[in-house]
Symmetry: D3
């Protein structure tokens, strides 16, 4: 399958980010300054309104690399590095005319990606060492689903569900099991599981959804008996209408699988998981092997970033409310 | 300026949404069913987890239109129509093999856009008839900034800041004033305002930011005296470090402008506005002419959507926890 | 079956209540007064510390009837009548020596029974007209289980589970379905249901527990198919470990039964029900046919009663903190 | 005085607990299984829904001892031993037909008695070593008043007010002072105290209620002057209408008694005491000699117990939501 | 008794308020302006930070009358009139040099007195028509005790305890009963009451404190029997250590007085009363005849006032944050 | 300037405190006792209802010194010493007739002054070593403004604004800057600052208010440039209408002053400061040099004091609710 936009056409994207996707007032500032014959080498600091993980820095630097010139200067925190509230994450020193119109795009990359990565980190910390998979692309617009998944992996998730997200993050392959739709069409979980086992490449782990038709405990045993030792695990995804997956259900399924001799079958839990709920599972020592998380990462609130001119022609300046001059930040490293 | 992706290349986007941006398990389901030689005409319902405004429906229908065939059947609520919790917003009756892999994209469009439109509606209601401009594109990833602005306008905003957002929403032009950066480079607000006035096309309204260097009340008078009756308004955007714009500030600036004979100069307020804060302004009868809102719309939480197979080959079915059969919804209209 | 104590031996119970089960200080008061040669005709008021339903009055009057003499005077509210906070529910005018030692028993009957009846009434009100069965005898000591059930019926329940409770309340028969233990011993719900159907007298309604082995929706259909139109209903009693019965489960089971043609099969809900949860079911229009309630009635807090001498030899008196003289209460009726 | 039912007629009680006081569905299960010719040796675990003190075990074992046979097996925690949430407190391995109908009685004994003992323990802990007397029999039905008092003593109280409660707990005698009624009939506290002193056996401690007619401090001095060194203590029982006994009142009465030379007269406090209020007295170092507690123990909520079959014919089994097989509990000891 | 300062020496007080009691920066402003040869006719508005009753206006106007000259202009709300938040209560138009140094005194009078009057009004409203006496002078410095009492009467109290407070408010005489100290010295309440009755002028109402030595109910009857129909009332002032006066105590004392034929003896309640507690008494229909209030009025928080120059030489002006020009207030009346 | 009452005429004040400013019931007690020919040497304890700093003791002792005689005995805590809840702060042993009528004045001095000193101490503690100036005299009645300031200094403030307050506290001079009124009359802050600098004595520190006309940061730089190194500091007093002084404003003004070479110019913060807000400034390491506090000290709630007779003629006594006899307090020292 040939890969489509938006990831392919970089020069088109640069034009897009600096024009149709940019706030019009930046264009107007650009035109006014040009008409007045004014430009200046400015130092602009991009800083966060809250603490978290800095993410989107790499993409921002790539965009700046496409529009700045030799002699301009960009320094930044590393992708995924912790950032403090109001800490400068990115600093550009260049003629304003070269990059002013990209402020919308640069801030947006940092805000969204840092929001996702920070939320993922909280989830990953809650899981206390157990692997977390991001699978929330279906909760946000598909133009940014893979970007969200990339950010989740920066935040510590070990896998994600979209191929493009996995590629952005440098993973070998996306992760995933099967949708309820497939089981419904087969009409029986065991039938579906056998077909999946028969036709999927060997490297795809056999993890079967067990809440579609029958009680999870009963279905887990049926599937385990049918697939045998090729079964990597069962996925518990009990819907909200049935009270979501409970700690007790995990304990019970584990016990029933063990009593039936299926000690090597893992238990994968998903369905409305949050950091809070994962902490409850861990506090209760629920025998979960892996957590799948959707909304709690995908719907993370962006962390607002601000860009401020702090020097013009080497002289400290700032708007009211901000301190003039580029604040010292020894963690910034020169990247362009 | 030539307009870039992602809006241009529709067929590439369809491929992208059905492949790299799709959750891998939908592809696996597709391949398993194909290998097993199974397909079925299914009725799939897409319903919301919460009440609000349905948005993203138009884009979703466009995507379905590109992949379904004659004889398939799609019905939906209208774009921007109110939706109840769990109400079916979109219904597709077609062979599963034709559209199963687009579930990630379809749900994502509905989730993000409905979240933005619903948040915009709350803000617009709070403003009690005063115009609200969305200008939060810089708070989210630039691939979706214009989509967010489109959704904000569906929700009731009268303007937005990106050209592409305005185009998507069918507006003549984007809205915007000027950035602090431009004023800082000019070194004085009045100088900047005069240059803006001299060089901008006549149809661009003269609205000047007045919190960059001086007290807002003082600067408002300086600008009004300098630009005269071409001045449409002043924008109060006091930063959080100075306590944001207060109700009292608006009253005072209004009084001072009036006392100086500038009764026709409007007051535009922005800076960390939320529905709650706007309600406070309106309750206190603050003489605001227009509100500019960023994060409160752009960072709106997506409203999760779910897609469920409810019939297979005309027979009611559902997974555990859901009621089999397509629920009657008289508000759905046939769109494909 | 021959009925055992404590209900049989009335005269023994009177002795028991006035001696071993009485607080020793009443006996000491009796002995001191007797040794001092003092007695007096007193008016003693028994009043409640809280509003609710007066219950236990009938049993208290029976006890007084066994110990008072002609010329003594007892008036009371009717069994099950509403009582206000601090309202006099029972009034005795008699020589203190005749009934002083029964104060522990009289107060105890009123306190426990009023607590149970009042809790039952709240539950019954929550159920908004749907029948409520009390089946909580197993949560309290078996000496008072039937007394609790009698009180629950005074409070508005239409049935209870113990034969003695039903007899006390004048019901034809106790209500009940079957325990999980029986199904576990049969090893399958349908097998158990068939045996129950085969061996139980015709007047026992066929209501089958459907959460023992399989998902409730699946099991409901299996049972309904097996028992046919003799099936009165299914009982949903999902354990806490699976999130209790949810509103959605009831809707789904109803829909699936209806779709399979079992419209006449009722749905009986139990398991940790409280007034609060029943109100949620009713607010969501859950298609419940009857509620079974245990702890929420059986564990009701007793409503403390106090007995105060208000007149001695016709003269108003009271201890500090109370108002001397028998308060007028037009609702009291002479009963002895 | 000859002791009455229910404590006398053990075999009648066994019949009563297994029949009229038993939930009818256990009888129906028994009859269905018998008619179907089915029985099985089951292992049934009785476990608590909450942590606390296990109480009622002794009575439950006595009942089982009356119905099981040689070769059956019962193990249990010791009476009064701490139990964890969901810990198995009692385990029976026997043919189901022998003891199934007693489930209502067995659970009820454990639930009520554990509730009372656990509440008593919290009170006793609050009193920080000072003796606590249970005198709340008058707040609950007289059939179980003595059982409650027995449980309170298991929980750590040093005395109770009913003779039967004291006997069940192995105490030499019940505890108690005098009722307000007696003082009202005498018409003066000092007169009543003198009569009590004159006529009560020497082993009854002289403790006098001092809030009936006069201010507690004044009455305490009058009584102490009248009874002299035979006075063991005064009981402060100020009614709610006068704000209950306060910490300051205890300090003041102590000081006034001491100043008048009555240093050996103790102060006994009662009236609406709870663990919370006792903690306040102790935190304020109130010179209380003993606490009398009623409702806070008598109205304790029962701790629900559940009985589950965990093995049938030696094979692990469980209903949905529970883990099959008898959980290991090294604290259980064989008792039958 | 000859009346002492501070009320006598008006011209000394004017000097004191404009010098030693004035904030030094007003003196410095005065000296700087004088040295610079600058003065101006200013309009100064004195407005409140909160809603309530305007009080202290009369005293402020008296002070201005002593320092302003003919041609100057003062307008104000009436003493005791309701004022809105930020409403101008006092307006002075005069040369700044004549009254600038009195700003500390003028604001202070308005702030303290308005605070007291506003608190009194809330109490009076709570009492729902029953008379309220202010007797809290002993809770604040004696230089302002009478000023507080004056303000309390402006707020609606019908009496106060200090002679000077009564005189300021134009009352014929102060109100008061007797202190505990007097009763303690007499050694018995009845003895003290008789002496009071024997020696006080006939116009002093006979109201006797009844909580010094004995229970209030008992002492009320003793006093009523001793003083007979000259007894106007009993005062219940139960200390905090005994739980303050309760609603029940008032009901009981009323009932016992009535039963003893003392229906004309009133009940006066005091001791830690607040608006909240008085509302509880009234809600419970406690038969109180009059409330005595101390801390709840005396400790009222002052309502901060601000003085702002709004015009200089007839031209609107204001400091940042305030609206230039004297706000129209039709309720202001010319007073000087 | 000649200093006025109330501080001058001591003997007049004694008469005033014992007559017009005294609660009338003390006079009535005095007259009744005199008419009955009764007097007694009493020990009266004055104790506080709450913990804090004892203040007003010195003034109270001066008053007692003016009315007691040789042989009478007064002991007290030291002025400004910490006091516990209910601790005796002042003890008088003397014939009641000599000092009974001064109870209102004595309690009032202790209550108000201790309230102010205690509030000041909390503020001073919050400031963590930075100097705090009391300048709230304008928020309370001018008769007690200087007494409040004296108390604030006892509580730890280093300066106050009224000359009389400073004198009472033994300070060399009051503290203060300039009012907004002066700047408004000059029409420009720099003009006003220059006049102030030109005309004020050299010992008056040059601290200039910088929020009257312009943004604080801009005005600070203008003033610093104009006054040069004679400028001690700028005072930030941003009004509530502009959000009060924020932590960020202080940081920014400090940075801008430093960048302009004005490192020695201090920053003085005022305007609605409370202990809570000062703790936030200190937690954020705001570079504040001194805090000015008004309402938070001036409006402090008085701490109620009570006076109780504890001995009469050497014999312990007390009213109901209090413990007879003078409580031992080793911290009391004989002062008269």
């Amino acid at each position: 399958m040939k890969e489509a936009t938006p990831q392919r056409a970089t020069s088109e994207l640069v034009d897009y980010f600096g024009g149709p996707a940019s706030d019009i007032y930046f264009q107007r500032a650009h035109d006014t300054l040009a008409a007045a014959g004014i430009d200046a080498i400015v130092t602009m600091d991009y800083f966060s309104s809250g603490a978290g993980l800095a993410c989107g820095v790499a993409e921002a630097v790539r965009l700046l690399g496409a529009v700045l010139k030799s002699g301009d200067d960009v320094s930044a925190l590393a992708e995924g590095e912790p950032m403090a509230e109001r800490e400068t994450v990115l600093r550009v020193r260049a003629p304003y005319s070269r990059f002013g119109v990209y402020e919308t795009a640069l801030l947006g990359m940092l805000s969204s990606c840092s929001g996702w990565a920070t939320a993922a980190r909280e989830i990953v910390d809650a899981a206390a060492g157990k692997p977390v998979i991001s699978y929330g692309a279906r909760h946000i617009h598909p133009l940014v689903g893979p970007v969200m998944e990339y950010s989740a992996i920066i935040g510590g998730c070990v896998g994600c569900a979209t191929p493009r997200g996995a590629a952005l993050a440098g993973l070998k392959a996306p992760s995933g099991t099967m949708p309820h739709a497939m089981i419904l069409i087969f009409g029986d979980t065991v039938t579906a599981a056998k077909a999946f086992d028969a036709h999927m490449p060997v490297e795809v782990p056999r993890i079967v959804l067990v809440d579609t038709f029958k009680d999870e405990a009963e279905e887990s045993l049926r599937v385990a008996d049918a697939i045998g030792n090729r079964l990597r695990g069962v996925r518990l995804d009990t819907p909200k209408e049935r009270g979501h997956v409970t700690v007790d259900l995990v304990h019970e399924v584990r016990a029933r699988l063990d009593q039936a001799g299926h000690k090597s079958v893992g238990i994968y839990v998903s369905g409305g998981l949050t950091a809070e709920r994962i902490r409850e599972f861990e506090a209760a020592k629920a025998p979960v092997d892996s957590y799948g998380v959707g909304m709690a990462i995908a719907a993370a609130r962006p962390i607002a970033f601000t860009a401020d001119i702090k020097e013009i022609a080497g002289k400290p300046i700032a708007k009211r409310g901000r301190i003039p001059g580029a604040a010292q930040n020894l963690r910034l490293r020169r990247v362009l």
